[in-house]
Amino acid sequence: MSVKQISVFLENKPGALMGMTDLLAASKIDMRALSLAEASDFGIARVIVDDVYAASDALKEAGFIYNITPVLGVCIPDEPGGLHQVLQVLNDAGANVEYMYAFLGGPSAEHAYMIFRVQDRKAAAAALRAKGIKVVDQEHISQL
């Protein structure tokens, strides 16, 4: 049970990100979330999309270098301290967060979601579930 993040290699130069968004738009891919990580001469665009298969197909065809990384998707409780509670559980479970980013989802964007990259994803997911926190998978994200 995971969210399938697509990580795309991009050169750090004008128009590089646009080349990718242009391709995804033309392929009718809906992006749920996007996060950028950059080094001095290149970057990695991390995207969550509705149709992982179609997106990876389009990227491959266009000659992009990418991979699919399973990440942890969490629906954040809609209450004060919601994110804090999630982090507390991850901390207690000894899960080290490499990176994370958030997005809003649902018919009127009423839900907040967090994407986590952790080393032991399965253990982290189990710990969250044990505390009644909702862990979501790619299917859930696709249907948002």
């Binding site: 993040q5 290149f42 000659g63």
Partner: protein, 433 residues
């Protein structure tokens, strides 16, 4: 079993070869003295006449010819035969702005093709083989030279010339080509494309490749051999001396046998011009002793290499030249350090990167900068920025220890460095000096 095109010459005892060279040199010096006014003047300036040249031991008395002589004498100044007796010209690409135009009589072409035929047979070629010549045809010597050699051996010759890689692969497969002749960078590209098409080495009918016209490393040889499932042989030549086939590799793959019945090789100190003792590394100098129309005497190639007279297991007795470290034209001087693109290539291949790279040299605030562009590969890519940065640093460290100066390594998107169908553009020097 080792095959020879002209065994009586290729395996001749050393004394016989020296006798042949003596006789031909004396005759050639007279031919040049009588017919090439430009060189005669150079001899007169040095106080040398044909009478002073009695054997190859007197070779060092003759003046050198350099690329600038070719430029000064362009186009007809170094011809040894009237135009009426010439049947062909070939020319260099002129990328360095110094185009060379060489002339050939029918006899010259015949001998040149013999040299190429020797190379093809040394690579195991026979009249049963299908030889695809993917060197450019036209002014470039690669295509015409190997084409002629392939005919002499009796191979079925496929003159595809360079370019249109899909068609190249179609012919290799449909006509079961067994020998491929092209530049090493194009061979690597053809291999890469076949691999992308899902072809494994055992599905490729090729058994041997004859690759030259560019400096290439031992690691690149291994790479091409593995991808195409062949034995890759080096071949060497210069338009000034006819073209490919001045020297070629045999089954031992440990240096290229120089066709000594046509070319006498010397190694000199590039700074002083002094002839260096056997086995020393220095600049390679050739004297063509059979060429009629364009007889080069003591021509300085600018290639840095070493000669070896060690007995070769293939049975050939001709001296071997080791792979040149690079043409001194290719050599870059960066922050005072000599850098050959082939050294950078070696590091890339050692670290598992493809040999597709571009070197960008610039000068920022009076300091030279070296930036090596390398294409990102699916194998190397990971979602982890730190991991990629670590590999980038490994590459920088590897190059620093090889070159003695620290480069910058830039990872670029795939297929952004132009693939070569002829000679690859490996170096962009933006310095304005």
């Amino acid at each position: 079993m080792e095959r020879y095109y002209q065994p009586e010459i290729e395996c001749a005892p050393r004394e016989e070869m020296i006798a042949l060279q003596n006789e031909r040199l004396v005759k050639q010096v007279k031919h040049v003295w009588d017919n090439v006014a430009y060189y005669r003047k150079k001899m007169e300036e040095k106080g040398v006449t044909p009478d002073d040249i009695k054997s190859i031991d007197d070779l060092h008395k003759l003046p050198f010819l350099t690329k600038s002589d070719l430029r000064d004498a362009y186009p007809y100044g170094l011809m040894g035969k009237p135009l009426k007796e010439c049947v062909r010209i070939q020319s260099t690409s002129g990328t360095t702005g110094k185009r060379v135009v060489a002339f050939y009589t029918q006899h010259d072409i015949d001998l040149w093709e013999d040299c190429c035929a020797r190379a093809i047979m040394a690579a195991g070629g026979t009249d049963e083989d299908v030889c695809q010549v993917s060197y450019g045809y036209g002014l470039f010597t690669g295509g015409p030279g190997l084409n002629g050699g392939s005919h002499k051996v009796g191979c079925l010759t496929i003159p595809t010339s360079s370019g249109n890689t899909e068609r190249q692969i179609m012919f290799i497969q449909d006509l079961q080509a067994t020998i491929l002749c092209c530049t090493p960078s194009y061979a690597a590209y053809i291999g890469e494309t076949m691999k992308e098409m899902g072809l494994t080495p055992d599905q490729i009918p090729l058994k041997a490749g004859i690759f030259g016209a560019e400096a290439w490393s031992e690691e690149m040889r291994q790479d091409i051999q593995n991808t195409l499932g062949i034995k890759a042989y080096d071949i060497y030549g210069l338009t000034e001396l006819s073209g490919p086939g001045v020297s070629f590799e045999c089954s031992a793959q440990t240096g290229m046998h120089i066709n000594e019945d046509h070319f006498i090789a010397e190694i000199i100190d590039p700074d002083t011009g002094e002839v260096l003792p056997e086995g020393a590394q220095g600049e390679l100098v050739f004297t063509a002793i059979t060429k009629e129309a364009f007889p080069m005497m003591r021509y300085r190639t600018r290639d840095i290499c070493r000669l070896s007279r060690e007995k070769c297991p293939c049975g050939r007795t001709h001296v071997k030249m080791m792979k040149p470290k690079g043409r001194s034209d290719d050599m870059l001087i960066i922050r005072g350090v000599n850098v050959f693109p082939s050294q950078i290539e070696t590091v890339l291949l050692n670290y598992g990167y493809p040999a597709n790279y571009q070197i960008i040299v610039d000068r920022v605030n009076h300091t030279d900068t070296l930036d090596v562009h390398v294409e990102m590969t699916p194998e190397m890519f990971t979602d982890n920025l730190g991991e990629i940065a670590k590999r980038q640093k490994e590459l920088v460290d590897g190059m620093r220890s090889m070159l003695g100066i620290s480069p910058k390594v830039t990872l670029v998107a795939p297929k952004t460095i132009a693939r070569s169908e002829g000679k690859a553009v490996r170096v962009i020097d933006k310095r304005k000096i």
